[in-house]
């Protein structure tokens, strides 16, 4: 561990951990996955409650719901955290199962494109309902 060579040197734990391991990368991915997961804990509870509140709704009800600033903001936060978390998760799945390096890069890029596209679609829809 490079951080312990000079015990007097001031370094954060993250600073010490970055760059470790054979691949020299991946700590940021690991951390982002956990941070989005933690953000998604309350946001998921909010989402489930929203779904129950919006059961059988028509468009007018949806518009009224998203016009309330808290609902729009929480939904946008949910969408951002969810799609980032989804991207990180699918990335490791593809890295595990697609062995051919050319196919893997293509699959990862295609997945990222789709996730971003649907994420932006969801965000756009919420904004359109809210504004």
């Amino acid at each position: 561990m490079s951080g312990t060579k000079n015990p007097g040197m001031m370094r954060t734990f993250l600073g010490r951990a970055r760059g470790s391991g054979s691949a020299r990368a991946g700590l940021d991915h690991w951390r982002a996955q956990r941070l989005t997961a933690i953000a998604l804990l309350p946001l998921t509870i909010y989402f489930v409650i929203s779904v129950l509140v919006l059961l059988g709704a028509d468009q007018a009800t949806m518009i009224a719901y998203m016009h309330k600033p808290w609902n729009a903001v929480l939904f946008l936060s949910l969408i951002a955290s969810l799609f980032y978390h989804l991207h990180l998760g699918l990335q490791v799945v593809i890295e595990d199962y697609v062995q051919d390096s050319v196919r893997r890069v293509g699959t990862l890029l295609a997945m990222r494109g789709l996730v971003i596209l649907f994420g932006v679609l969801a965000g756009y829809a919420v904004l359109k309902l809210a504004i």
């Binding site: 933690i38 059961l55 709704a57 028509d58 949806m62 756009y124």
Partner: protein
């Protein structure tokens, strides 16, 4: 690895023909356990919920598009098939949610002992079933 042929698992048998070399069975013989089963289901529910996220996007897009488009989307959900799919997503969500908390506890350093792993595993299954049933009872009473 001395010989590249090791990577492709090919070799010659005693008659000189190229054959696929035999591999040890693993998934076919390893007994499924709480650890491995819950782990793979975390991955499976994660990918399945990804599909759910795409459908959520489309549902929101219909709501933003027009009253007719949203009525159509809600109509699809209201069918027997729609309800089954929605229940599937509910179970997947609560499983991934509960097991996700278990993962976060592991990241913080708690719960690695074998008995603890089994206890928290059963708790995850119970929470998943319990929450799914509870939310659906609430939903059916309300709607």
């Amino acid at each position: 690895m001395q010989d590249i042929r090791d990577a492709s698992m090919r070799g010659r048998n005693t008659e000189g023909r190229m054959v696929a070399r035999p591999l040890s069975p693993h998934l076919q013989v390893y007994k499924p356990q709480m650890s491995s089963t819950l782990s793979i289901f975390h991955r499976i529910t994660g990918v399945f919920l990804g599909l759910g996220a795409l459908l959520l996007s489309l549902w929101l897009a219909c709501a933003a598009a027009s009253a007719a488009a949203f009525a159509f989307a809600q109509g699809l959900v209201d069918t027997i098939f729609g309800m089954i799919v929605l229940f599937g997503f509910t179970v997947a969500l609560f499983y991934h949610f509960a097991n996700g908390i278990r993962h976060l506890a592991w990241d913080a350093g708690y719960g690695f002992e074998l008995p603890e792993m089994y206890r928290t595993g059963y708790a995850v299954i119970a929470a998943c079933v319990g929450l799914s049933v509870l939310v659906w009872i609430i939903g059916l009473v309300i709607g």
